[in-house]
Symmetry: C2
Subunit: 408 residues, 2 copies
């Protein structure tokens, strides 16, 4: 049998999805699984989306332009203009979800063996995309003690050398929910100018900012038009993950030109998601406000419930719908699998994403999990209760087995 | 400004799409453009697809499993079983079009610097996908004189060395329309067994076989389950290119395992295209028969009209909806652009794909074009008439300018 590629072997499995077979088995046994593992919003996809699908006036579902429908890019750029970001329809390439946008950005800007600096914990698939292009990830450790804030600029400078091509952040952050401030972005701005680097910013959670904080887009940084490449998507903003519609947004025409060649090779992004998705840009403050209120309520509830559990530490996130929590366990990978394989409470269990997969540094985040608050209040309460009972059982079990080992 | 990656620079532009700006300009001038450049079927997407979209009973458009909906893979495998190919739903990974299927197959099986042998002319984007993974394409020249048949096996063996990981064919072929016989596939079977190679076969045009010939799937070759990886898609079969739903089909579990990690990194293929696409597998012989009759009629018409033009040579394709034709010009890239920029006949012109982009060997195919017969009879006749008049004008123009040069 011919060998699998080295890349295929070294490619990491998704920490968000690798436990799916255990969850499926639990469901088969009749156990209800609360999914806190994946950023799949439970809020309804707006009605306008379904209405458009119900009234498609087409005969042939054809390819669209490789950079997406012109009308979609037009609407999308209007949404940007409305929130105070000046971009033109020609500054966009529409992609198969934010995932492909990031992949195209990396491939267009970074060669094999070159490096990208990313604060960790980081969105796990950044590691996967880098691996698929043989790009080296240089992680910058963020600390749970200060809520995963941007590390001091001196830490970045320590890592920058001739191989460094880009800094990548997610703002607000997946998995930590940390919202980078304008000041932090200005710091990064100086850094990418000084060292002539790309600044990739994943802003797919831009509309999910809580309290009185404001999101500051990297596209509004001064004099770094040639450095800044923003990743966007309608998946989270409009609960439309299955549409698979994302975008690269940049004023750098060379990056767009290179990305367009990758885009042409795969012909086009999905047509249906764009056609129905166009209608979503007409939604106004009412929609965003409602969604925000709901997530903020859940955040407050979840973080307080989590921190009530003995041994659990969960900083308050500023945005997105994730939090990273420290659990009183040695190995969250083992614990998360155990929760699916061997535990249930009132006929239910909880699926979480072990945080180890969100660290590029081997061995870090072993006692952390990423939790997505994408359940309604009732389910969220039940899920956290499940986690609480599960943790207690697991600790007892471990103590018992330790005692047994000591007795033998 | 930070530099573009070497990969981004060397990535080829799509020969199918690179002339789009000239076509757009022609349309802006009011010129009708007959698109023979792209495999975008004009036949209607079946009604069942639109009906399903009109009656979506969903609240949240969520991600689907990374390998696609189980129900879709079930239906898809039934379609395979019905045409005599024994595969299980677990032998599929559903992808963002056939494009992503090929990309995942390459990345899972072939490392940077390793090689894939492909008969040329070849589907242009194979070159693009290989470039994006720094995989070397070793072309095997096919000859227009024998209708682009599979070259003798000795030609393959000349290219095989320790770097060779796979042979890739498209059957029936894009761009030539050539249908590989069962005997040719058996030859390849022996070869991949002898040298322990993967055999990638792109079978997206499987249902478009004309005359009394039969398609033989590589999945029905004996004792090469671990070598054969088939690429499939609903794009052409059901005129649903914009759905972006393809698949990897293989019984090799290690390849599926590696591909699944790439699939998880991009989360999931489009949900809408699968949900509506599932209905298409219920279409029977009536549907396929009707589509086939239409394309066969066009093929016969187009090839005969093309061969009537002085200096044009177009072999008769056995399947798909493409043909490669030799034109009486020095440089088809220049000619195709000229047709869009400077020519019109009765208010119309023709867009074709210059064949040079379908050759990995620099300088080959300079006087060839790929033509897709995806227009109805009336338009196809007008398009070929346009080409005929265009060719005549272009030749006259060239002769005149040559005379002028000689006089100077």
């Amino acid at each position: 049998m011919p060998a699998i590629s080295k890349k295929g072997i070294s490619m990491p499995a998704s920490p968000i999805r690798k436990l799916v077979p255990y969850a499926d088995a639990a469901k088969k046994r009749g156990t209800k699984v609360y999914h806190l593992n994946i950023g799949q919003p439970d809020l309804e996809t707006p009605k306008a989306f379904w209405d458009k699908l119900a009234h498609m006036d087409m005969k042939v579902l054809s390819y669209c332009p490789s950079d997406g429908f012109a009308s979609y890019r037009e609407k999308f750029s209007q949404y940007y203009n409305n929130i105070g970001i000046k971009v033109a329809p020609s500054d966009f390439i529409i992609t198969n979800g934010g995932s492909e946008a990031l992949l195209f950005a990396m491939m267009s800007c970074i060669d094999e063996g070159e490096e990208v600096i990313i604060p960790e914990p980081m969105y796990a698939n950044y590691i996967g995309f880098a691996a698929s292009g043989n790009i080296k990830v240089r992680p910058i450790p963020c600390k749970i003690e200060n809520g995963f804030a941007l590390p001091p600029i001196s830490e970045f400078e320590k890592l920058i050398d001739t191989h460094t091509k880009a800094i990548l952040i997610c703002n607000p952050n997946n998995p930590t929910g940390y919202l980078y401030s304008r000041e932090e972005l200005e710091t990064l701005r100086l850094l990418v100018l000084k060292y002539d680097l790309y600044l990739f910013v994943d802003e797919v959670y831009r509309e999910f900012i809580y309290g009185d904080k404001q999101h500051f887009s990297a596209l509004n940084l001064e004099s770094v038009d040639q450095n800044v490449v923003v990743i966007d998507s309608i998946s989270k903003r409009f609960s439309a993950c299955g549409a698979r519609i994302g975008a690269i947004v940049t004023r750098n025409k060379e990056v767009l030109g290179a990305a367009m060649k990758f885009a042409q090779a795969r012909l086009s992004p999905p047509s249906l998601g764009q056609i129905a998705g166009e209608s979503l840009f007409d939604l106004g403050a009412d929609y965003y406000g409602g969604v925000k209120r709901e997530y903020q309520h859940r955040r407050d509830l979840m973080v307080s419930l989590l921190n009530e559990i003995p041994g659990v530490n969960c900083p308050m996130p500023g945005g997105a719908f994730y939090a990273v929590a420290q659990l009183p366990v040695d190995d969250a990978d083992v614990f998360c699998q155990w929760m699916l394989e061997h535990f249930s409470h009132g006929g239910a269990t909880v699926m979480m994403a072990p945080a180890s997969g969100f660290y590029a540094t081997e061995g870090k985040g072993k006692n952390e999990v990423r939790i997505a608050y994408v359940l309604n209040e009732t389910d969220l309460r039940k899920a956290i209760e499940c986690l609480k009972v599960g943790l207690k059982q697991y600790q007892l079990l471990n103590e018992t087995s330790k005692m047994k080992t000591e007795l033998v």
